[in-house]
């Protein structure tokens, strides 16, 4: 029986939700034209089916991926799901269908457009996460390190191990403003929680002094005879700069850290 195509799946955006969509697609002999999460723009061209996340179904799909494709493929789609590539979820479904047909070898098919699309997406995610390991800036407020980023991909799960190791004895919060969630860390534990907004304003004299010293360093280290703003821009795209101390103007006054939270997330933000 040929698969039905002209319809759209909608799900809650979770990884288990996506795997449930994969399950439904097989069970109902459907190949949806799009799989949409709440983050996606909703188009209403086709009939849409709401797929409720079902942990039994998602676990079955995951076991199937591990045994019939490979454990690497399972890790790979988990990463791909964090990326922001166009039509991400439908591409993951297409990849899995190919994988179930050809087995573990699917991971080598780098030249196949269906595989390559996801590989490039994961690469982009990893590159952005690596960028943020360097470009992210903390401001210290009452002993807590706070940061806001605006990534295109969901990078928090990727940068968590790095920062939680490097600053293991600190309390810190990294707010992903694009995806409205935050990584919170305290010695011995870190987790990612929903968070709508975080305002950071330094007011402490020592903090402002350190920021000024860093700006001075950044400005002084450049060699005038080799100024090259194009190169600077290709290495450090403008979109990262609003959150970076060295590209912000000197601040002289400010208020305490404020935090509007959506859920019961904000132990750290109570400071």
């Amino acid at each position: 029986m040929p698969d039905r195509t002209n319809l759209v799946y909608r799900y809650d955006g979770s990884f288990d939700g996506l795997l449930t969509c994969v399950f439904e697609s097989y069970a109902r002999h459907e190949l949806p034209d799009a799989i949409l999460s709440p983050d996606d723009m909703q188009t209403m061209l086709f009939e849409s089916r709401r797929v409720e996340t079902d942990y039994v179904k998602s676990a079955r799909v995951l076991r199937g991926v591990m045994s019939r494709i490979s454990p690497e493929a399972a890790d790979f789609i988990r990463m791909a799901h964090l990326s922001c590539i166009f039509e991400r979820d439908r591409r993951i479904l297409v990849f899995l269908r190919l994988g179930f047909d050809v087995g573990p070898g699917v991971m080598n098919r780098l030249a196949d457009a269906r595989v390559n699309a996801l590989v490039s997406g994961v690469r982009y995610l990893e590159r952005e996460a690596h960028h943020y390991m360097g470009f992210l800036r903390f401001t210290e407020i009452d002993g807590v390190l706070a940061s806001v980023i605006q990534p295109k991909n969901r990078v928090l799960p990727l940068i968590d191990p790095h920062f939680s190791d490097r600053f293991n004895a600190e309390r810190f919060i990294i707010h992903d403003a694009s995806h409205r969630c935050a990584l919170m860390h305290m010695p011995g534990c870190s987790r990612i929680v929903p968070l709508d907004e975080l305002h950071i304003t330094a007011s402490n004299a020592r903090e402002l002094e350190i920021q000024a010293l860093w700006r001075k360093f950044h400005q002084t280290i450049a060699i005038e005879g080799r100024l090259n703003p194009q190169l600077q821009r290709s290495n450090l795209p403008l979109r990262f700069r609003p959150e970076m101390t060295e590209f912000q103007r000197e601040k002289t006054t400010g208020k305490e850290i404020g935090c509007h939270e959506k859920s019961a997330s904000g132990r750290l933000s109570a400071v």
Partner: protein, 431 residues
């Protein structure tokens, strides 16, 4: 009393001509309860207006130098403001920057204040406060001062991740002429001491687990290009010898930037030879990752780089007998010789071949730059370019428009500093 701000300004300004700012070469997790770890691939934290990566807080401990190297802004006879960080002040600044994720660590160098030994002692004091008192686990690159006592070099090496001794100039004669207080021997002695120390520690580590570390991220050096008359071939041969003899991790090149009027040096109006520096980095990459030897790249008969063609393309044009390479059969080494195929795309080709033979469209997806590669490979027996070009046509097809404009704009100099970002770029950038 000078403020920290004033000192930072002076001692950054005095350190900025040093090229190396990499934080790579050692992976280390943080000890629980302490601050700092290190990523083997290095991390760029910012980029300055000249486009170079900022990874480390790069400053001098002091610029009150008692030597008189003609090419250097800090030389004794130059009229410039002087400053010296106290070890505590610099350690505190490093911690404050690191904690806010501004930097990967510290790159500490210094002018010779008093003697080589007193300078080293001051630097050691800074690093001991960081490592022993503050238990800092981030990256430290320290410069050994030529002529310092061996024991001090060892002590510094136990605190640092990477050490470097700058060769400064590519030949003894030039060093003698331009840096009268330094001898080649003074430079090479600590370099070989560090090389031996690294080798010995590696040995001992396999025997006893608790051998104290010594320069785990290896040793690097830097030379100034364009202040003295050596050819590209001489510089590249020296580079290759340094990798072999002293097991260096990196050799950096710095286009000479005229900072002083001196009859022994190029005139103040001379532009820094950025293209030459760029070509040297490309060739250096071929030595380290592409299996080329210095003599394959340049020779006594052709001692200088082609201004329009990068060294890899240049080799390919001069070795028509090696091509075309069949992508579906060639081994890794042969693939690496093809212009337009880099380390990453060569690896991907090998991986993708396991699941079937490749077509042109697929090669593009693997990151092969077909614009260049098309003249040098076959895909399933067929050459994508369809026409074969003669030497002159190849030269014009492969010289990039950017290359033409480069002497003026120095637009695409992306190899200045190499942490992960540039590394990736170089590997995928088909040099």
């Amino acid at each position: 009393m000078m403020t920290t701000m004033e000192k930072l300004t002076i001692l950054t300004d005095a350190a900025k001509y040093d090229v190396a700012c990499t934080s790579s070469g050692v992976g280390r997790a943080a000890k629980p309860g302490t601050m700092g770890n290190s990523m083997a691939c290095g991390i760029c934290h910012s980029f300055s207006a000249d486009g170079r990566c900022i990874s480390l807080l790069k400053v001098l401990q002091s610029n009150a130098c008692s030597y008189d190297c003609s090419y250097c802004v800090n030389r004794r006879t130059n009229d410039t403001p002087r400053a010296t960080f106290t070890p505590r002040e610099l350690a505190d600044l490093t911690m404050a920057f690191y904690r806010r994720n501004y930097i990967e660590g510290l790159f500490l160098s210094s002018g010779v204040t008093g003697s080589a030994d007193t300078t080293m002692e001051l630097m050691i004091r800074t690093l001991s406060i960081l490592r022993e008192e503050y238990r800092f686990g981030g990256y430290i690159h320290a410069k050994a001062i030529p002529g310092a006592d061996e024991k001090l070099v060892t002590r510094l090496g136990r605190l640092a991740d990477r050490m470097s001794v700058n060769l400064e100039l590519p030949s003894c004669q030039s060093l003698q002429k331009l840096a009268p207080d330094k001898s080649r021997a003074d430079v090479l002695r600590p370099m070989s001491q560090i090389a031996q120390g690294i080798a010995q520690t590696k040995n001992e580590l396999t025997l006893y687990r608790h051998t104290p570390q010594f320069v785990p991220a290896g040793q690097s050096t830097q030379m100034i290009v364009g202040a003295s008359p050596e050819t590209d071939w001489q510089i590249l041969s020296l580079t290759s010898a340094l990798y072999r003899k002293y097991a260096l991790k990196r050799v950096f090149f710095s286009a000479y930037m005229p900072v002083v009027a001196d009859s022994r040096l190029p005139a103040l109006t001379t532009r820094p030879p950025l293209l030459r520096e760029h070509r040297l980095y490309q060739a250096d990459w071929l030595l380290r990752f592409y299996g080329f030897t210095a003599d394959e790249i340049l020779s006594e008969r052709h001692p200088n780089f082609h201004p329009l063609i990068d060294p890899k393309c240049n080799w390919a044009i001069n070795h028509p007998e090696f091509f075309p390479v069949e992508v579906n059969r060639a081994d890794y080494e042969a693939l690496l010789r093809v212009p337009g195929i880099g380390v990453t795309s060569a690896r991907r080709i090998l991986q993708a071949r396991r699941s079937g033979s490749l077509a042109v469209e697929g090669l593009r997806r693997l990151g092969v730059v077909m614009k260049r590669a098309q003249y040098f490979l076959t895909v399933g027996g067929r050459m994508p370019a369809r026409v074969s070009l003669n030497r002159a046509q190849l030269i014009s097809a492969l010289s990039s428009e950017k290359g033409m404009a480069l002497p003026e704009t120095a637009r695409q100099l992306s190899f200045l500093d190499t942490t992960e970002e540039d590394y990736v770029k170089c590997l995928t950038g088909q040099i």
